[in-house]
């Protein structure tokens, strides 16, 4: 259920505050639209879009405000999660937010000139960065907010009223997943203050969408959360299909459910393997990683690729399951269960594991919601929000499975929720495979799905049809729409603006890792350095999805 609302730009703050008090206390996303190619039909050149979800999780609203002057009131005093989202709008579109505590670029680098998601910015115009941001003033503000005063000597930290050591965790660090940088001020082993810098893997997904057809975007979606590529494919094509108003066959829906759950497992095993390595438990890595190889083998047989599957298409998928898929899948599931069982036998009653994870990296349910955290990270705090139950699609309501929740919101809960979710996903997969409906996997609509190869090579209509679809793309009706699914890391959404052509006018990803990461500095302040590493691993931040 959703509702579209248009408001004027000077009531943004009061209106959203009102909605917040009504129970819309979950900020999904903030973005802007540059209408400069359609100034005749639109009120203003820019509009801001706020997407909020109700605390019952069943309903969302899309609030749009045209912005005549490019400055509006911040809502970061209502939602902590708005802080980074507004910075991104500023960075990408150049709209400023009054009273924002820290309005600076977040994805692009500090020497970048211009705002790349404006239509006037040429897509291929790259800009070199010569020197990395030292983050000194951001850190200084953070320290001041904690009453720590440091002298600045020619731009560097001098003496402070506390004995501090400054350290960069990342971006090139094995536990920072290669691209995340956190600058910390340490008092001994304790993190006194932290600031995170992201954007090292910002590779222009959203701008690239604006010059590719819908089906050409599918491979790009693989590379958002590359640990579970297929679920990104599905989240994207499902949003496009909703805009087209088409319903997939029962078989296609069931296959998508099965693959969504398999991706969830694929992603959880790598997250768990990595988090245990961060703790020093290397043996678990081999137990957990091996089943992932088996999933790769199965997926390469099905889709032709191990990691970047690009299996989905608007209106269906590349091909049906192959003969013998079911038997292969059963084998793979056995191996997953074996890996999970072995790993759990190593950690379940392991004192070191419990001591290192319990009450470490805690985030409360209230803060998690305010930061718009979602998925296993949110469920670990005890909030039972799962789109598969709260806003079901593809017949999820017909499958029996439990939503796993934690109670404390610490590393232990986040790890254990993922372990238990693997079991639940296996349950769903087994139910799907027991009653897999017969039929086609692609809808029959010449304006959406490609004709058969025989038709392409044998008939002139078929050849024309193929040609037009490939060159022009699937034409999506004019509209602005937000669609989402429960992906591995939580609610993964796409906000798409279509002008009726085969290429989207604008695409924005609601990326679960982005908001989770924005909460990270606050979680680790006051904690031990080694625990900060574990906390990051347990949040399962995937840079591709976070930075886009």
């Amino acid at each position: 259920m959703f509702e579209n609302i248009i408001i004027s730009s000077n009531e943004i703050h009061s209106f959203i505050k009102g909605k917040y008090d009504e129970g819309f206390n979950y900020l999904l996303d903030i973005t802007a639209i540059d209408y400069s190619e359609y100034v005749q039909t639109q009120e203003e050149e820019f509009a801001l879009v706020y997407i909020l979800r109700h605390k019952s999780f069943k309903k969302h609203i899309v609030i749009k405000a045209y912005v005549p002057i490019q400055e509006v009131e911040t809502i970061s005093d209502i939602f902590k999660g708005a802080n980074w989202l507004e910075r991104e709008v500023y960075d990408q579109y150049g709209i400023t937010f009054k009273n924002h505590p820290n309005l600076r670029r977040v994805l692009n680098h500090k020497e970048f000139v211009g705002h790349p998601l404006r239509k006037s910015y040429p897509i291929t115009k790259g800009q070199l960065l010569h020197e990395v941001d030292d983050l000194i003033d951001e850190m200084n503000n953070r320290l001041l907010s904690k009453d720590i005063i440091c002298k600045l000597d020619s731009g560097l930290f001098g003496e402070c009223n506390k004995d501090l050591m400054f350290l960069n965790l990342g971006p090139s660090h094995p536990a920072s997943h290669g691209t995340i940088r956190t600058y910390v001020a340490l008092d001994g082993e304790t993190v006194e203050a932290a600031v995170s810098e992201i954007g090292y893997l910002h590779r222009g997904f959203e701008k690239s969408c604006e010059n590719h057809t819908y089906n050409q975007i599918v491979p790009y979606t693989d590379r958002l959360n590359y640990c579970s590529a297929i679920s990104n494919n599905i989240a994207f094509v499902k949003t496009v299909e909703d805009m087209l108003g088409v319903t997939l066959s029962k078989r296609a829906q069931a296959i998508r459910v099965m693959l969504l759950e398999l991706s969830r497992i694929e992603d959880h095993v790598v997250c768990l393997a990595a988090v245990l390595v961060d703790m020093g438990g290397l043996t678990n890595y081999w137990y957990m990683y091996n089943p992932r190889e088996d999933i790769y083998d199965l997926l390469s047989k099905l889709t032709g690729a191990r990691l970047t599957n690009s299996y989905m298409r608007v209106g269906g998928m590349a091909n049906d399951l192959y003969d013998g898929f079911e038997e292969d899948l059963k084998e793979v599931i056995k191996k997953i269960q074996y890996g999970v069982e072995q790993t759990l036998s190593l950690i379940k009653h392991n004192r070191i594991f419990h001591d290192r994870t319990q009450n470490v990296g805690v985030i409360s349910a209230e803060d998690a919601i305010n930061y718009a955290m979602t998925g296993p990270n949110l469920r670990a705090t005890g909030v039972s929000f799962d789109m598969r139950k709260d806003a079901p699609y593809y017949g999820y309501e017909n499958y029996e499975f439990d939503v796993v929740v934690g109670s404390v919101g610490d590393v232990y809960d986040r790890v254990m929720v993922r372990f238990a979710e693997i079991d639940e996903s296996i349950k769903i997969i087994e139910q799907v495979m027991q009653n897999l409906p017969e039929g086609d996997v692609n809808i029959k609509d010449a304006s959406i799905t490609l004709p058969t190869k025989e038709a392409v090579y044998g008939t002139i209509e078929g050849a024309m049809n193929q040609f037009k679809l490939i060159f022009e793309g699937v034409k999506v009706p004019v509209g602005e729409y937000y669609g989402s699914i429960e992906a591995t890391n939580g609610e993964l959404g796409f906000f798409i603006v279509s002008d009726g052509s085969g290429t989207p006018y604008k695409v924005k990803v609601k990326a679960p890792s982005f908001t989770a990461m924005s909460a990270y500095p606050e979680i680790i302040e006051g904690a031990q350095l080694a625990d900060a590493i574990l906390t990051l691993g347990s949040l399962n931040i995937i840079a591709g999805e976070m930075d886009r």
Binding site: L128, G199, R306
Partner: protein, 172 residues
């Protein structure tokens, strides 16, 4: 050069050139430093895990400190924002050193032809081996490793080979 201690008397002396002896020693003790940023780094995890097992080729001592490594494997998309960091890591590695560019992104920007992605890491650092693929299969990376080892075995290491290289971030 093959040595089998079982067939040789213990007091045997062998003659070889110094280059060859050093090349032989280097060949099987490459210490990689993984500069993994994206999807390709996940494939590197497979290379290191039991199925593909890079330790079969004597290169499993993965170091995340450039000062302890001699083989830089750049796995993943390098953005302009990442550029100075990659360059710094490269500069911190001491000679002898080699660079493998893993995947389409590191080689050429891949399909990210846009404002934020560097169009190949050879804009800023010299590369010895390019591995294509998006991502390359683990076998492809192992193949690169083997061909580098072959090169070390058969050719003299030339520290001057990149001396004319001038990257976009040099001299700034």
């Amino acid at each position: 050069m093959e040595l089998d201690p079982h067939t040789l008397p213990t007091d045997t002396a062998i003659t070889t050139t110094l280059d060859e002896a050093i090349g032989w020693a280097r060949e099987s003790s490459l210490w990689p430093m993984i500069f993994g940023t994206a999807c390709c780094a996940i494939e590197f995890m497979s290379v290191a895990a039991s199925k593909y097992d890079i330790s079969r080729f004597g290169a499993e001592v993965v170091r995340f400190s450039p000062r302890q490594a001699d083989l830089l494997i750049v796995a993943g998309t390098i953005t302009y924002k990442q550029g100075p960091i990659l360059k710094q890591i490269y500069d911190q590695m001491s000679e002898p050193k080699w660079v493998v560019s893993m995947g389409a992104c590191a080689c050429s920007g891949g399909f990210y032809d846009n404002y934020t992605t560097m169009q190949g890491i050879d804009e800023i650092i010299p590369v010895d081996l390019y591995v294509g693929g998006c991502p390359p299969r683990p076998e492809a990376l192992l193949d690169a490793l083997l061909s580098l080892q072959n090169d070390l075995r058969t050719n003299t290491y030339d520290p001057e080979r990149h001396k004319d290289f001038k990257g976009a971030l040099d001299n700034v």
